[in-house]
Symmetry: C2
């Protein structure tokens, strides 16, 4: 038996382009504001909301709405499960790249 191809284990919850970007940005564990993620990844509000919903349903991120003076802000943070899923994705990508070299 040889190992399965590195792409076989990839999970679309994490591998999908924008969600991979979101998790990579959040990787350090520091919370990031919704608008910063949206701008960094060139997404629309609707698009980012949709991807955050998928990640939140998978328990890979949590978000917190901050109201007070000025406009409300939403802060997004990666969870431990999200960090583990991202590490697994990055390991598969490293294996893919190594196999291609």
């Amino acid at each position: 038996m040889t190992d399965p191809h590195p792409t076989v284990g990839l999970d679309d919850t994490v591998h999908q382009r924008s969600r991979l970007g979101i998790l990579a940005l959040l990787r350090s564990g520091v919370g990031i504001e919704f608008a910063s993620i949206r701008n960094e990844l060139h997404l629309t509000d609707g698009n980012l909301n949709r991807h955050l919903k998928v990640l939140e349903d998978a328990a890979f991120i949590s978000s917190r709405r901050e109201t007070g003076r000025g406009r409300p802000r939403t802060w997004v943070t990666i969870t431990a499960a999200g960090q583990a899923a991202l590490e697994q994705e990055l390991a598969a990508l490293r294996a893919l790249i190594a196999a291609a070299e």
Copy 2:
């Protein structure tokens, strides 16, 4: 201006998990038989056909059906455009991994 995030330039035609696997398998330029790709990537016939159609429409692969004695076989080969698209994807993934380290 800082560079855009590495995931911003990813193209789903190539980034999608199974299609990334297909192109990575074909990368050397040697044609591979349909059944070998299907088995290697744990896909069904229908699934692989669907992904090959997307890649063929993008002119990233070509396929050739070989008939003769025994069962017909379909051979799949990456094109120069497909190789270029795969290299661009791998470069973006390398940048993503480098940023995460």
